[in-house]
Symmetry: C2
Subunit: 340 residues, 2 copies
DNA sequence: GTAGGAGCCTGAAACGTTTCGCCAAAGGGG
DNA sequence: CCCCTTTGGCGAAACGTTTCAGGCTCCTAC
């Protein structure tokens, strides 16, 4: 059998209350402290956190719901969060909603049933009804990479991110810029698309041609297909902006098949391993992914300690434009015009 | 307040024992079943798994310890495991040991204290002493990608994997093959290196020249530096085998800087997203990573149900050699000899 | 000398389930 | 008709902690 307080009581003669006080950092006389430590060592005692959780109503566990697990973005998120949360004594239960709203609602109930103290979530879409079980039970929720009204959110400035890409391209002389973005149903894509429209209008005085905005599934395949479609237009864009990492990978694959002379300029999203592999060095909008994770963990920890702000809070982080090899963003001199 | 069995008892007049039986799939008369379901719905009742775990001594939680979280290999592992385990009703607590033995021992104690029912681990090194807390408490452990004597393990046939790469290269005429591998302190690297030596000896009748085996830190940087060092040798190899994904990426980056004419043949490891990015299409040893995860989860679930084999078991999975563009493995006709 | 407080300890009652032993009623075979 | 088994239900005792309301000792200040 595994040792419990009762065994420690047997060996030390102290009461359960005192032993509990010891394990919770209360004041215990030095000789008693030593007695307990000796007994615990002899018994190879390990505190039972399940029992503790039942009585104290804190499971010291948080749930993390991601819309997909095997993406580089979310991996980084998990890695940093887990690190920060365990530092604070919390275990991290990870759940994958596979971009499926129903699965997301399921895991939410699952986590609430597991009595997690808090939840961090990258929501599947704008429908926040899956949060109800958590709200009902007063479990704090922090949304990451999505703005969820009425809920703490940690996001990046998506509009400015895309605007910085557009600005680089227009400064280089591009006037016809395409965008690869996912469906408007996710906050991130909606913002990036709106940011694109605004930036293009700002910089060129014109609304972007609608056929240059490719609505796609968010994936490598979507990036491949999308960029090919853009280039088949009768007046193809001279530059393409990718609204996320998957599109960037896909577009890069598709462009690999073109001769370097006929490639459009390309600004991608997210600075991950990819960037080091691809030649010429790509131009990228870099998100502070680690900070996103750390800020979210920090905000949740504040809530768990009961000392966060009164109102739901939105933390917005800035992106960095990482300028790559100039061939990736310059407007090619004449010939491509000549050919059109 | 959150509802409990007592509230259901109040609404239904049934005893706690009956309500418990209902929630554990026991036989309950139809009218009582309906009563309970109605009451639960009215109360928005959610079973408290912490209390359940305390009494039943099953927390329905498993711990997963990875040697690093933000690698594509481990991401895939986590993703599949989490899926399979949650299907079976288990929550997955994830921990990152950051390739640090002490951190690994810490999280092991952390998980045992959290009363996880089982643990899946990709161990940092060969020192299995960190398993003691789990063994002492009868918590089953499954090791993944490492052979841990006396413990259930799910691995791939590392020797055969490397041998298949060597065979392809020798068949194509290569006689001087280099290897990029990590330190012998991890099982995987030791096996792959031994497999390399054996295969080269088998196929060429000679032991590989020792300077062709580059001991390196396992990383993209290591791959870059290693391949550069190999090529600076007075008699550089005509082909290089990479013993893992990081090396493959790094070697690819380094080779990108060479003209296509002077590149050695390259066989990489692991078929992940980036393999689709690289042109010409690389030749790769593909591990069944998802199966690794699923087999491990399955084996642990067996142990948790108490119906696994009596003895610790080792499951070995096979790899597939994915042959890429022929320029990636063919021996280049004459000039490279001429130049040497 | 004593009131009051600080410091440390204690027994007992939670926390919300599961499980054990027992009982009543119903059903079936001889 | 009786005995035996099966089914479903019940009260009460766990599970291993934390927490509550006191209680004892010792010290200080008046």
């Amino acid at each position: 059998m595994v040792a419990t307080y009762k065994d420690i009581r047997r060996l030390t003669g102290l009461s359960l209350a005192t032993i509990s006080k010891y394990y919770n950092g209360g004041n215990v006389l030095e000789p008693n402290r030593e007695l307990i430590e000796k007994a615990a060592a002899d018994l190879d005692y390990q505190l039972n956190n399940v029992a503790r959780g039942l009585r104290s109503r804190r499971s010291m566990t948080v749930g993390v719901i991601l819309d997909e697990l095997d993406s580089a973005f979310n991996t980084t998120i998990v890695s940093r969060m887990e690190e920060r949360l365990r530092e604070a004594g919390y275990g991290t239960i990870i759940c994958d909603s596979r971009k499926d709203a129903e699965a997301q609602a399921d895991v939410m109930r699952f986590l609430v049933g597991k009595m997690v103290d808090g939840i961090i979530v990258v929501p599947v879409d704008d429908d926040a009804s899956f949060l109800v079980p958590a709200r009902d039970r007063g479990v704090p929720v922090v949304a990451v990479d999505r703005l969820v009204p009425g809920t703490d959110s940690v996001i990046i400035d998506n509009r400015a991110a895309i605007a910085s890409a557009v600005q680089l391209l227009t400064t280089a002389g591009h006037t016809s810029i395409g965008l690869l973005a996912g469906p408007d149903s996710t906050y991130t894509m909606r913002e990036r698309r709106a940011g694109f429209r605004d930036a293009v209008q700002d910089r060129t005085g014109l609304l972007p041609r609608t056929e240059l905005i490719e609505p796609e599934h968010v994936s490598i395949e979507g990036g491949c297909a999308g960029v090919r479609r853009l280039l088949r237009l009768s007046a193809p864009p001279t530059a393409v902006v990718c609204a996320n990492y998957g599109f960037t990978l896909g577009a890069t694959i598709a462009l690999n098949e073109l001769g370097p002379e006929s490639r459009p300029a390309l600004v991608g999203f997210d600075n991950m391993d990819l960037a080091r592999l691809i030649r010429p060095r790509p131009t990228l909008v870099a998100q502070p992914i680690e900070d996103l994770a750390i800020e979210a963990a920090e905000l949740l920890l504040q809530r768990l300690n009961g000392d966060g702000p009164d109102e739901p809070v939105t933390i917005t982080l800035d992106t960095t434009l990482m300028i790559g090899h100039e061939s990736t963003y310059q407007l090619r001199p004449v010939p491509s015009n000549g050919r059109l």
